[in-house]
Amino acid sequence: MADAPVAFATGGGLTLNLADDVRQLLTYHFMVNALVAGTAVAVMAAVVGWFMVLRRQAFAGHTLSLIAFPGAAGASLIGVPAAWGYFTACGLGAVVLSPASRGGRARSAETAAIGTVQALALGAGFLFVSLYHGLLNGISGLLFGTFVGIADGQVTALIVVAVVAIALVAVAGRPLLFASLDDEGAAAAGVPVRALGAGFLLLLGLAVAATAQITGTLLVFTLLVTPAATAQALTVRPGAGLVLAVAISLLVTWLGLGIAYFSPLPVGFWITSLSFGLYVLARAWRALRGGRR
């Protein structure tokens, strides 16, 4: 990723006519692929991330996203498609983490377990990369994402994953919301809180594995946490919050991909900066209104 945008920025120039710029973007097949895949991932990440922020599982989510790195590195080591590595590693990670992050705020000893899993996973990833011999640019692609090399098959797979994930949230949304806000009350009302928690981690792993293929494992949070945190700073209502998170996530993905095409700076930088800027604006707006939450 590091040097790719430089090459493409010289391919076409930025004009002041917005419609022309958009048309120029869409003439390239890889840009269309990136935009379609980015859209699917942005919607899914925002929805799953909204629940993750609500459940305060940011640390577990971050660890899951880093587990994607050894998955991808291991897959390229044994010569299978990277997507398999992403999904296998994140699924396994969710199973390993689910006893350690049982609902709500994790206790101190449990955060140590999560941190250990994370470092071990990254150490394994580094081992795989050094066994694979070289290709240092490959590392920064895995870690910081790439939007030029998304194949047609990958786009289809990401859309399918996104549809499945959103369907699962739609089915389990109400009990999950109940269990996230008040787990004791939900357990008393007969909601299977522990099964929901484990299932949610698996779903989170799925979303992270898909998002990591676009943003890279280090920047997954820019679509997972930041739009959701912005939405929750602005509204406490679940429906409005979810819609807002999706809208913010889509906006920063499209704008980030578009700007990165015309600028020499990497797409990861643009998407993170745009979403962080919106977050700061939302916090400032809430502070000005006297923050009721």
Partner: protein, 281 residues
């Protein structure tokens, strides 16, 4: 093995760094600030790469970035504890800046590969120069001394903040000071095991110590000893198996110690219940 200069330098710098990680990590786990340590380790990456892109000493950027972010997390967070979501949002953006620095650094040089970035991310303890190793050791000793000096009030403030505050302890100031020490430790450990792996050296020995003992002083000592042991064993392992990177080896040993501590606690609990409970078969 000890006849090699690079092994001696690695041990010289690595031992105090690991000890600092173990001691600070014990407090990190006690205060439930592992995620803050995680975030600081990522900040270290951006700091070092920004310094590299600007053409100044990597370590200047490393220390400046981690300490500045640590201090602001402490000052902004409620009761000098940073909120998970705020940490997640801020450090993602800082990582985005890291991606920017990496691309500026790479395109600014003719060689055009990300080797510098990879060293920062995953460490290169075998590549330390004599001067670097000595300075890293000195700073680590300083961090250890500072932590031991504030250990007693910090333990009190971490275990029961409200009572400590009522007794007149500067709980907030201690929290900020501790986060700054954590920032320094993160910058130090980045030189040994790299920005991405230092969390293992912070969390795994400390988690094991928390499982094995409830006595805080014994726990601190145990955590430090485990971290140093993991570093030594890891270096020996990486030396004997050349394709095993030292950072991965150190983290693997530390994680194995954490797993073993879990098994040990379970065995001991079974033993205790067997001795205590006549109902148990």
């Amino acid at each position: 093995m000890l006849s090699h200069e690079f092994i001696r330098l690695a041990l010289l710098a690595g031992t105090p760094i690991a000890l600092a990680c173990g001691l600070v990590g014990y407090m990190v786990v006690l205060r439930s600030e592992v995620f803050a340590g995680d975030a600081l380790s990522h900040v270290a990456f951006t700091g070092a790469l920004a310094a590299a892109a600007a053409g100044i000493d990597l370590r200047a950027g490393l220390f400046a970035a981690t300490v500045a972010v640590a201090a602001s997390m402490g000052l902004l967070g409620p009761r000098a504890h940073a909120d998970d979501i705020v940490i997640g949002t801020v450090f993602t953006w800082i990582l985005g800046l890291g991606a920017l620095s990496l691309s500026l650094f790479v395109s600014g040089r003719s060689s055009g590969n990300g080797a510098g970035g990879v060293h920062v991310l995953f460490g290169s303890i075998f590549g330390l120069g004599a001067g670097e190793a000595r300075l890293a050791a000195l700073i680590a000793v300083g961090v250890i001394a500072a932590l031991i000096a504030i250990a007693r009030p910090l333990l009190f403030a971490s275990l029961d903040g409200a009572v400590a505050e009522a007794r007149g302890l500067p709980v907030r100031g201690l929290g900020v000071l501790f986060l700054c020490l954590l920032g320094l430790t993160a910058a130090e450990a980045t030189q040994a095991v790299g920005a991405l792996l230092l969390l293992g050296l912070l969390a795994a020995p400390a988690g094991a110590a928390h499982r094995l003992t409830v006595n805080p002083y014994r726990g601190l000592a145990l955590s430090g000893a485990l971290a140093v042991g993991a570093l030594w064993l890891g270096i020996a392992l990486a030396y004997s198996v050349p394709s095993f990177p030292p950072s991965s080896a150190i983290i693997t040993v530390a994680a194995a110690a954490y797993l073993a501590s879990g098994a040990a606690t379970r065995l001991r609990r079974r033993e205790v219940s067997r001795l205590a409970g006549p109902t148990d078969p």
